[in-house]
Amino acid sequence: MTPLVELDNVVAGYGGAPILNGINIEIHASDIGVIIGPNGAGKSTALKSIFGLLQVTGGAIRFDGEDITNRLPDALVPLGLSFVPQERNVFTSMTVHENLEMGGFIRDDDLSGTLSEIYDMFPDLKAKRHQNAGELSGGQRQMVAMGRALMSRPKLLLLDEPSAGLSPRYMMEIFEQVVRINKTGVGILMVEQNARQALGFASKGFVLASGQNRFTGTGQELLDDPEVAKSFLGG
Amino acid sequence: MNRRTLIFFGALLAYYAIAGVFFGAAYISLLSVQALAFALIALGLNIQWGFGGLFNFGIMGSLMVGGFAATTISFPVNPEFWASDGPALLGQVAIAAAIGAVLVIAAGQAHRIGITGRWKTTLQVIAWFAAYVIYRSRIDPAVAYIEATDAGWIGGLGLHPILGWIFGGVLAAGVAYIIGKVSLGLRTDYLAIATIGISEIIRALIKNMDWLTRGTLTVSPLDWPVPRPQDLQAMGLAIADSFVVGRVAFFGVLLVVLALVLYLVQRAYGGPWGRMMRAIRDNHIAAAAMGKDVKSRQLEIFIFGSVLMGIGGAALVTLNQIFDPGSYQPINHTFLIWVMLIVGGAGNNWGAVFGALFIYLTWMLSDAAAQFLFNGLSDWMVTMGWPGIPDVQSRSSQMRVLILGVVITLALRYTPRGLIPETYQARD
C-alpha cells in the first residue's frame, strides 16, 4: 500500500545551510504521526518542506505516490493537504465563520455540510461564529485554525505545535479532536513539544535531532525506549 | 575607487566631451555646473537613503528652501522697505509669534501644575489655536501693508552668495529637524508621504508669500561668488567667452565644495560612524537592542543629507541668477534625484555622483534629442500631406519625463544595486 505521504531523504532549508539533512518520514491515512525533538532539530522545517513553504534541495516528497516536491501551497491544498501554522494561524479581522469559509476557498461545492460538521466538533465556535477571530482566546483560536484547515476536506492534516501556549484543559481537548479527526480517515502529522502526551496516542513517532532521524517507532515504543526517555522526554 | 568606478567616470568624461562638441562650450559648461550642483544634492539623498535607509520624497522642499536662502542673503537690500513701516510691523509679528510660542510651550508643561491626560491635550489644542490666531492677527495686516507699498517685498541682505549657500544649508537643516522629529521612526511609506507633504507645503508657502519671496514675480539677477558673465563683459570680455569663463570659474568653486563634502563623507562612512549607520539601516531592531540610539542617529543623518540638498539648491539658484518658485516641480526636483541615485548606486558616494552627472546630461540632452526627432517627424508628416504634430515644442519637451521613467524602471529591473553598487553589503 502506498503511504499517504513519504519524505524520502529530504534535504531542505531557508537558502543558507540546509536544516534538514536527509530525513525520512512515512505516514498512512490511518496514522497519527508525531515529530519530537530538541529545539532547532528541524521539526517545523520538516512540515514546511512538505507544504512547499521552503526550498527542498535534495530527496523527494511524495503524496499518494505523486511527487509533490517544491510544489506551492495553492497546488497542494486541492490535492488534499492542509497545514495549521503554529503562529498567526487565524484571520484576526474576520469572523469565525469567514475564517472557516476561507479554508474552503478551493472548493466550488456547497460548504454548509462541512461547516456544520466543524461546528459540531467545536461547539464553542458555533456560539462565536459571528465574532472576530482576533477576539478569541488562544484555545479557541487553535480550534478556528484547525477548523479552517479541515474545511478543504484534506486527506492529510499537518499541525505545527497545536498545543503551544494552551492551558492543559484546551490541550487535552485539542488532542482528543486530533484523534477523532484521524478516525474519520484523515492522516495526521504533527510537531509537538508536549512529547509524552502526544506519543501516548501517536501510531508513529519520529525523533529528530540536527536535521536527521534519530529514532523511529510507534508512540509506545518510543515512550518505552530508555534512551529516548532520557534524552528527549526529560528523563 | 576601483576599476569599475574609474571606467565609468572615464566614459562619463567622454560623454560630456562628445556632448560639448555638439552643443558648444557655453552650453556644456552650463550643464556641467548644474550637474555638479545635482551631484551635491544626490549625495545628500545618498546619505539619507543609501546610508540611513530613510525615505525622502520631499527633496524639492529642501531645494526651494536653499534657493530662498541664497536669494534673501545675496540679493541687494531693498531701501524702500527699510524706510517704510514694514520692519516695525514685522517686529510686531515676531513678538506675536514669540507670545504664541510661549503659550504652546506653557501648555506642554501643564502637567507640572497637575493638568494631565485629556485635559492637557485639550489645553494644548487651545494653546495652538490661540497662538495661531495671535500670529495671524499680526501677520495678515503686515503682509497687506508690505505688498501694498512700493517696496513690494522685504528684499535681500546684500551679502556674499556663499553665505547664502551656508544659510541655505542651515535653513534646510531646520526644516529637516522638524520633519524628522515628526516622522522618523514611522514606517517607510509614512515617511514618504510626510516628506512629500512638507515639500508641497513649502512650495505653496514660497510661491504665495510675495512679501518674503516675491512669489511668482521672481527675483533676479542674483550675484555670483565669482564674476558673472555680465560682469566679465563689462570688463571687456567677448560675450561668447564671458559665459564660458564665468561658468568655468563657478564650476571650480562648486568642485571644491563637492570634493570637500565627498572627502568628509567618504571618511566618515568608512569609519565607525558608517558601520553604525549600516547596522541601523540593515537591522534597526538589532541595533536598538545593542544600545544604539537609533532615532537620534537617524535624525542626524536626515538633517545632514538635507543640508547638502539645501546647499545644492542654493547653488542652483545662484547659478541661474533667478529664483522662480513657480518653476519647481516634483518631477524635476524630487524624482529626478531619485533616478540619479538608483541608477548610480545607492549606498555608494561615487555611484551617487556618477548617477547625478550621467542622468542630468541625459535628461537635458533627451530634451534636445526629442525636439530633433519630433520636428523631423512632424516635417515628414507635412511632406506626406498629413497635418504636422501640433505644439511640437511643448510635447517633445515632455519626452524626457517618459525617458526618465523608462530609465529607472530598467535600472530597478536589471541593475537593482546601481551601476556603481555599494561595496559593503547587498541589500535587495
Binding site: 501554522p85 476561507m102 479552517r148 | 508621504i193 507633504g197 508641497e200 507645503i201 510635447r395 526618465l404
Partner: protein, 334 residues
C-alpha cells in the same frame, strides 16, 4: 438664512464632492497597500490616466454624433472602468510583478512606482500636451437649484450635474464594494490576504488571482475618481498629482489596508478642507447689528487661506501619525 445656504453650498456640498473624490482614490491606495504592502505613489497618475481614457472615449462618441441627456464623460464610465482596469493590470505585469517575483522588498516597489508615475505622466503629456481639456466644450454644465422653502431665503442650494453624478457614483461604488468584500468569495479572500498573506496562501487561496482583482478594483476606481474629478473641474496632466497628498492622508487616517477607513478618511479630509478655507465671518454677519460697537467682524475669518488648502490634509495626517499611527480603523502596523 442666505448665509446658511451659502455655507451649505460652500462647505457641505463642496465637502461631499471633494470627499467623494478622495474616498474613491483612497480606497484604491488602501487596497493595494493591504494586498501588496507598498504605498502605490502612481495612484494619482492612474486617476489622471482614467480621466484621459474617458476623455478620449467621450470625444470619439461625440465625433460620431452621439448625444445623451447625461455628459458623455459620464456615459462612458463603464468602458473607462474596464479599460483603465486593464491598463492597471498591464502596469502590474510590466513593472511590479517582475520585482515581486525577484522577492524585492516593498520599498523597491515604492521606488518602482516613481518610474510608473513618470511613464504615465510622460505618455499623457506626449499625446495630450500640457494644456487643459474640458468635457463640456461650449455647452455649460447643467446646474440643479433647490429652492429652500423659507421666506428669507433668496439663494438656492446648488449642485452641478457632474456633482450629482459623482455622489451617485460614489454611493453605488461604496455599496458595491461593501457587498463584494462581505459577500463574494473573492472579496473575502481579499480581506483574508490583507489580514494575513501567509495564512491566505496556506489556505489555498489563489493569491495571484487576488492580486489581479485588487488591481482591477484599484484601477477601475481610479478611473471613476479621475473622470468625475475631470468632469467637475477640468482635465489636465497634473490633475491627480495635486490630490495625491489628501488621498494618502485619507488612506492613512482611515488605517492603511482598511477600505471602510479610507472612505471615512476621504470624507473627513474633504470636509475639513472645505471648512478650513470657508470664510466664517459670513455666518457672523447677520449678527453684526446685535454686537456691541467695539467688536468688529473682520472681513476674512477663514482658518486657512485658500492657497494653503494642502496644509489641512497634511496637518490631519501628522496628527494621526503622532496620536494613532495605525489610523482610526487600526490599519496594518508592520
Amino acid at each position: 438664512m442666505n448665509e446658511l445656504i451659502f455655507f451649505f453650498n460652500n462647505v457641505v456640498v463642496s465637502g461631499l464632492v471633494l470627499g467623494s473624490i478622495y474616498a474613491l482614490g483612497a480606497i484604491g491606495v488602501t487596497l493595494v497597500f493591504g494586498i501588496l504592502r507598498f504605498a502605490h505613489f502612481a495612484h494619482g497618475d492612474m486617476m489622471t490616466m482614467g480621466g484621459f481614457v474617458a476623455f478620449l472615449l467621450a470625444s470619439l462618441f461625440a465625433a460620431w454624433g452621439l448625444t445623451l441627456p447625461v455628459p458623455l464623460g459620464f456615459a462612458v464610465l463603464p468602458l473607462t472602468f474596464v479599460i483603465t482596469a486593464a491598463l492597471a493590470l498591464g502596469i502590474d505585469k510590466g513593472f511590479y510583478a517582475p520585482l515581486r517575483a525577484r522577492g524585492a522588498k516593498p520599498v523597491t516597489l515604492l521606488i518602482a512606482s516613481i518610474g510608473v508615475t513618470l511613464i504615465i505622466q510622460g505618455m499623457i503629456r506626449l499625446f495630450f500636451g500640457t494644456g487643459t481639456y474640458n468635457f463640456f466644450e461650449g455647452a455649460p454644465k447643467e446646474l440643479y437649484r433647490i429652492e429652500v422653502p423659507l421666506e428669507e431665503a433668496t439663494r438656492t442650494i446648488n449642485f452641478s450635474q457632474p456633482q450629482v453624478l459623482l455622489l451617485l457614483v460614489t454611493v453605488v461604488t461604496v455599496v458595491a464594494l461593501h457587498l463584494f468584500l462581505t459577500r463574494a468569495r473573492l472579496g473575502k479572500a481579499m480581506r483574508a490576504m490583507a489580514d494575513n498573506a501567509d495564512l491566505a496562501q496556506v489556505s489555498g487561496i489563489n493569491t495571484a488571482l487576488v492580486v489581479r482583482v485588487t488591481w482591477i478594483i484599484a484601477g477601475g476606481l481610479a478611473a471613476l475618481a479621475g473622470t468625475m474629478l475631470a468632469l467637475d473641474v477640468t482635465l489636465k496632466p497634473d490633475l491627480a498629482f495635486n490630490i495625491l497628498l489628501p488621498i494618502f492622508a485619507a488612506a492613512i487616517v482611515g488605517g492603511l489596508g482598511q477600505a471602510y477607513g479610507a472612505i471615512a478618511g476621504g470624507f473627513l479630509i474633504g470636509f475639513a478642507e472645505t471648512a478650513a478655507i470657508f470664510n466664517w465671518s459670513i455666518l457672523l454677519r447677520p449678527f453684526r447689528d446685535a454686537l456691541p460697537e467695539f467688536i468688529e467682524i473682520p472681513n476674512n475669518l477663514a482658518l486657512v487661506p485658500t492657497e494653503y488648502k494642502l496644509t489641512v490634509a497634511f496637518i490631519i495626517l501628522v496628527i494621526t501619525l503622532l496620536a494613532r499611527p495605525t489610523g482610526i480603523f487600526k490599519g496594518a502596523s508592520t
